[in-house]
């Protein structure tokens, strides 16, 4: 999968035959996103796997090999920590086990050949059908020294959404981790004050999860409960 893994033809979500290593995140039935109205489209029998680009074998090309080699050299537990490396669309993603994430980030920041000294924050992604890897935290890093950009991805199960905090390595992750906790419910252990940041303090649920609806939530305001717009009293 060194090339041709972009799948740029329309309907590119169909998994190419050689991509066994691709990370399957769901299965799509039918077409046009139609559900519950009977098979009016004629495509109801269609079943397709939805998969993210899979792990890339060596060589990665460009500076990616050099970075991976350096990380392997400075990190004794490299084999333990790194689940795989994905090179896709000219960007490098290192998938890391959660126990090792702080160690990996520390190495990425401190080694002179890596020097990813600036964190661009954490963003969460929810894959409800990726069993035991439902919640992903994606760390974006930038090296000002070498003018490079890198992604570190950590997956945790929904039943145990704990990741050690990276604030000791990157203080800027403070608010970003709070935001990811707020919207996805990923708990960053050891964070100095892991509270909600954008939603109200007493908000129930984590709104960016896929099972959380868009709107339609009753809201409590000044002691009164305001029903969602479609359930309010009408005067017509």
């Amino acid at each position: 999968m060194t090339e041709g893994n972009h799948g740029l033809e329309s309907g590119g979500e169909v998994v190419p035959a050689e991509a066994e290593a691709a990370e399957v995140i769901g299965v799509r039935h039918g077409m046009f996103g139609v559900h519950g109205s009977g098979d009016t489209s004629g495509y109801g029998g269609l079943v397709r796997t939805v998969a993210m680009p899979g792990a890339t074998p060596r060589p990665y090309g460009g500076w990616f090999d050099e970075a991976a080699d350096t990380l392997e050299r400075v990190l004794p537990s490299y084999g333990d920590a790194v689940e795989g490396v994905v090179i896709d669309r000219g960007e490098m993603t290192i998938h890391v086990r959660r126990e090792k994430v702080v160690e990996v980030l520390q190495a990425l920041r401190d080694d002179p050949l890596l020097r990813f000294e600036m964190s661009l924050g954490v963003s969460g992604v929810h894959y409800p059908d990726d069993t035991d890897r439902e919640l992903h935290a994606v760390y974006h890093l930038r090296s000002l020294t070498h003018n490079r950009q890198l992604r570190v991805e950590v997956a945790v199960p929904d039943a145990d959404p704990h990741i050690p905090t990276a604030t000791s390595v990157y203080p800027t992750n403070d608010w970003h981790e709070r935001e990811t906790y707020d919207f996805f419910g990923i708990i960053f252990d050891g964070h100095p004050a892991l509270t909600r940041i954008l939603m109200p303090d007493d908000w129930p649920g984590h709104p960016q999860r896929k099972d959380y609806p868009l709107g339609g939530i009753p809201v409590e305001y000044k002691g009164a409960e305001i029903p969602p717009p479609d359930q309010r009293r009408v005067y017509s």
Binding site: V14, G26, M52, L120, L214
Partner: protein
């Protein structure tokens, strides 16, 4: 130790307690006495607080305070005039834009993201479109004219955003003339935006694959005219503030944060460049053809509010240079990608009943080609598919690195869109810049960060 809480600006608390005052009501809570001050009766507060019980006062500045740049709430612990602790309360403008994006097609997403950082809407749109184009793998198929229009609009937008930063910053310090000048000049740019995109803000003009529509007749002349006017008028602000003793007295050495502090806190934009590091993504990670334009990256080494002000002034001049180069490069050509599976099917045109799909296109889909009609319908209602994967695309917005992380599952809607907002990240510096300083300097430091709450809260 018990502390007293003071809320500025929120009216309506009943006046009760030891000192009944129409402007400074107070009530007892478990945290201590809470005073709500809406008028000029500071004396009343001081009398009430100075009961000898404690030395620190917690002041809630905002979220409706005129000098906190929108709905930013600063929670300040004060010892007299000195700030012991400064914290930010954000989220008052959260509208769930990132969540909404997951329920609309890729093209419709532009309409949402433009509403994030409302002073730099064209940057939000460009960052999103560049990321979608990267996912589609069509980055090098974007027509030259579309890229030039994008760069031109972004640079005009940078000027208008910096003008507001300086105008509101000036107003908060009492320099009302700076405010008048800033908003007057910004109006010139908003007129250009209105002519080109139809709207003064929330444009949704830059679309995946190009831009929504070509420049209207007369736009090039008006932009050239505006650049000429701005050149002379920007010197007005410069003469007013750059060597102004009062302005320097308020901003020099205030809001200090050095390079290592800025990198640790992830600060970018004028704050990072005020520490002496010439880090600008337009130079370091060029996009939209920025590597072919000639411009400088202004820096300062003072790491303070005054340095950031000087950088913004200089950046506006550099942006004018880029806009002039864009005007020279505007050669006729398409403004949307060739690929008919991605490109929006019709260009807009002005008809007798206002702006709409061009008559030629209507004639074709309604009278000549059934396939064209089906194609139009599918592309507009369902949208195009984007191959599965994730990308991170960053651009240099007026406030720093504006990054977009987009995940696609191969469908016609984004699976997840995350904005790495420079305002959100930069606001974390408030504590580092303000603690240990004076209350009056908090306003200066926050103004030099230039947060836009629409971007912070999204």
């Amino acid at each position: 130790m018990s502390t007293d809480n003071i809320t500025f600006g929120s009216a309506g608390a009943a006046a009760s307690g030891p000192v009944a005052d129409a402007y400074a009501g107070s009530r007892e809570t478990t945290e201590g006495t809470v005073y709500t001050v809406t008028g000029a009766d500071w004396d009343t507060v001081v009398r009430g607080v100075s009961g000898g019980r404690q030395e620190h006062v917690v002041v809630n500045m905002g979220p409706q305070h005129p000098s906190t740049h929108g709905v930013l709430r600063l929670i300040l612990e004060l010892d007299g005039e000195n700030v012991i602790e400064a914290r930010c309360g954000v989220g008052y403008l959260h509208t769930g834009i990132e969540k909404n994006l997951e329920f609309r097609s890729w093209t419709q997403g532009v309409t949402f993201v433009t509403r994030m950082d409302y002073l730099a809407p064209l940057f939000n749109e460009t960052a999103y479109c560049l990321a979608v184009e990267k996912l589609l793998g069509i980055t090098d198929q974007i027509p030259e004219r579309a890229s030039v229009i994008r760069v031109m609009l972004m640079e005009l937008n940078r000027i208008s955003s910096h003008l507001v930063a300086i105008a509101t910053g000036g107003m908060e310090l009492g320099a009302l003339t700076a405010m008048i000048f800033g908003f007057r000049e910004r109006e010139l740019i908003l007129d250009v935006f209105e002519l080109v995109t139809g709207l003064r803000m929330n444009h949704a003009f830059i679309r995946p694959g190009g831009v929504a529509q070509d420049l209207p007749p007369g736009a090039v002349d008006q932009i050239a005219e505006t650049v000429k006017k701005l050149k002379s008028r920007l010197t007005d602000t410069e003469k007013l503030l750059v060597d102004n003793g009062i302005w320097m007295g308020r901003t020099v050495g205030i809001g200090y944060l050095n390079l290592s502090g800025a990198v640790a806190l992830g600060l970018t934009g004028p704050i990072l460049r005020s520490t002496g590091l010439a880090w600008d993504l337009r130079k370091m990670q060029p996009y939209c053809g920025y590597e072919t334009y000639e411009f400088d990256v202004p820096t300062q080494t003072t790491s303070d509010s005054y340095g950031r002000f000087l950088i913004r002034m200089a950046e506006m001049q550099e942006s004018l240079k880029i806009v002039e180069q864009c005007l020279d490069r505007l050669t006729p050509g398409p403004v949307m990608v060739e690929d008919k599976k991605i490109a929006w099917p019709a260009q807009l045109a002005l008809g007798s009943d206002g702006m709409g799909n061009s008559l030629d296109h209507i004639r074709q889909i309604m009278g000549e080609s059934m396939e064209a009609l089906i194609h139009h319908f599918k592309l507009v209602t369902e949208g195009f598919h984007v191959p599965a994967g994730q990308v991170y695309q960053a651009i240099e917005s007026p406030r720093g690195e504006l990054g977009v992380h987009i995940v696609s599952d191969g469908g016609t809607r984004p699976y997840r869109v995350h904005y790495r907002e420079p305002s959100f990240t930069n606001l974390q510096a408030v504590a580092a810049m303000c603690e240990g300083g004076q209350l009056a300097d908090v306003v200066v430091a926050v103004a030099s960060i230039d947060p836009v709450m629409g971007g912070v809260d999204r």
